[in-house]
């Protein structure tokens, strides 16, 4: 398969996976646990791409995923974009300073990111919305803990999927010099 085509397949797989995770959170979790707060399944993918990919690729994926989130919520796209922008900046700064591959690092950063997401979301709501977001401390706390815990187990799966569909750069043609 051509490199560009592989790249499209890779993008499509993760685009599709974001949809699946959003549906899992809004439909499957609701059917099983009712209105009990759920882990932010799709946010784990956001953190993964923010940390693991090159800058331009991570930007494209992160903003695409925010657009997908907005389809599943009443929250405005603007507030979501602004909230995730802070998260993206955090990921960008962190990965350029401290980075070691592995589930522990990923879990740690996911925990910090999801906490930041909730804090920034409330601040943004106070600053930009006419009707302020309720605090919902227990719901948010559960979401932070559950997402962080889930990240540890999700990391190997996402990594495997990423490697499985990773577009490889075409290797250089090696010729022989005669004479």
């Amino acid at each position: 398969m051509k490199f560009s085509r592989l790249r499209v397949v890779h993008g499509f797989i993760f685009f599709f996976l974001t949809y699946v995770l959003c549906t899992l959170q809004t439909v499957v979790w609701y059917q099983l646990f009712g209105t009990w707060a759920s882990p932010f399944f799709c946010f784990i993918l956001f953190v993964y791409f923010g940390l693991d990919k090159e800058d331009w690729k991570s930007v494209i994926y992160c903003y695409t995923s925010i657009f997908i989130y907005s389809l599943f919520t009443y929250s405005s796209l603007g507030i979501l974009m602004l909230t995730c922008l802070f998260n993206y900046i955090l990921l960008y700064i962190v990965k350029n300073r401290v980075y070691w591959p592995g589930a522990a690092y990923f879990t740690l950063i996911t925990g910090v990111s999801i906490t930041l997401f909730n804090v920034v979301y409330i601040i943004n709501s106070y600053l930009f919305e006419t009707r302020v977001s309720p605090l919902l401390i227990w719901d948010r706390l559960f979401q932070i803990l559950a997402t962080t815990l889930l990240a540890y187990y999700a990391y190997p799966v996402i990594k495997r999927l990423d490697i499985l569909f990773k577009p490889e750069m075409p290797s250089e043609v090696h010729g022989e010099l005669n004479g």
């Binding site: 009712g34 599943f72 919520t73 929250s75 979301y121 977001s133 948010r140």
Partner: protein, 286 residues
């Protein structure tokens, strides 16, 4: 001394052999006399038989039980499996029964009103926890449009804000962005019902002079062109007159617990139905 050269021992033996049956025959003829002789032997025989019978019966039962154990174990597993299956079926049956009851009530309600209603099931909820929205399994292909009222038999629930082809997103009245025109049923005091998160709603812009008491029923006013007039929304939890405010602070408890809603009605066409004709005025609870 032994003139005839007879073996005395042999003779005694033969005599004994011949005489014993004769004695026995003779004794049997006189049954009453022989009882004393037979009794201890009979007693012993009886006990022996009884003992051996019990012993062999015990062995037979134990062996039988042991052999049966394998069969019982298999049977037990089968019965357990059957029991589980039946329990699951029973649970399913109860669930269907409850659903049937709910649908029956919905049908009765639908028949008692002249509005065009469409029943739908709740399939999902909002991705972000601070918004109270749900998703139903009916969309534009079923005739749903933005701004249509969504209700249950207990009362108003919310309205359609994003209809898609097969599903629709509903903004619940408890969401902070939800606004419904409301009236206190008893005193006809007008206000605007606004959501305040998961817990409830508030009735805003009610004049200080209005008569509002805890327990009053709040119904839809019909001015928002979303809900039919007179449909129950919430119960007044508390009404407070603040010193500096021109309006009352009225806290409401929605009649519908959105966390437990499974089936809803979407009002396709209210046909100017006044629900107060169907719902009789209620007295203040306090």
């Amino acid at each position: 001394m032994n003139f005839l050269n007879i073996n005395i021992k042999k003779l005694i033996f033969f005599v004994f052999v011949l005489v014993m049956p004769l004695i026995t025959i003779n004794m049997e003829e006189k049954q009453n006399d022989s009882e004393w002789f037979k009794q201890p032997f009979s007693w012993l025989a009886g006990h022996f038989q009884d003992f051996f019978y019990n012993y062999s019966a015990g062995v037979k039962t134990t062996t039988g039980q042991y052999l049966n154990l394998i069969h019982i174990k298999k049977q037990n597993e089968n019965l357990k499996h059957q029991n589980q299956e039946l329990a699951t079926r029973l649970l399913k049956f109860e669930e269907i029964n409850q659903e049937n009851e709910r649908l029956k009530q919905l049908l009765t309600f639908r028949e008692s009103t002249k509005m065009d209603l469409i029943a739908a099931q709740v399939i999902a909820r909002d991705l972000i926890p601070d918004h109270s929205t749900i998703t139903i399994n009916k969309g534009t292909e079923d005739g749903l449009k933005e701004g249509q009222a969504v209700m249950t038999l207990q009362g108003a629930l919310g309205y359609v804000f994003k209809p898609l082809q097969k599903t629709s997103h509903i903004l619940l009245m408890t969401d902070r962005y939800a606004v419904i025109d409301g009236v206190i049923q008893r005193s006809r005091a007008h206000g605007i019902v606004e959501g305040k998160g998961k817990t409830g709603a508030v009735l805003k812009y009610v004049e200080r002079t209005e008569d509002v008491r805890p327990g009053d029923l709040v119904v839809t006013g019909g001015l928002d062109n979303i809900f039919p007039k007179g449909f129950p929304i919430a119960i007044v939890e508390s009404a407070e007159k603040k010193q500096i405010s021109v309006s009352l602070k009225v806290d409401l408890k929605p009649l519908v617990d959105s966390a437990k809603v499974e089936e809803v009605f979407v009002v396709l066409n209210a046909k100017n139905q006044d629900m107060s004709e169907l719902i009789p005025p209620t007295e203040t609870k306090n």
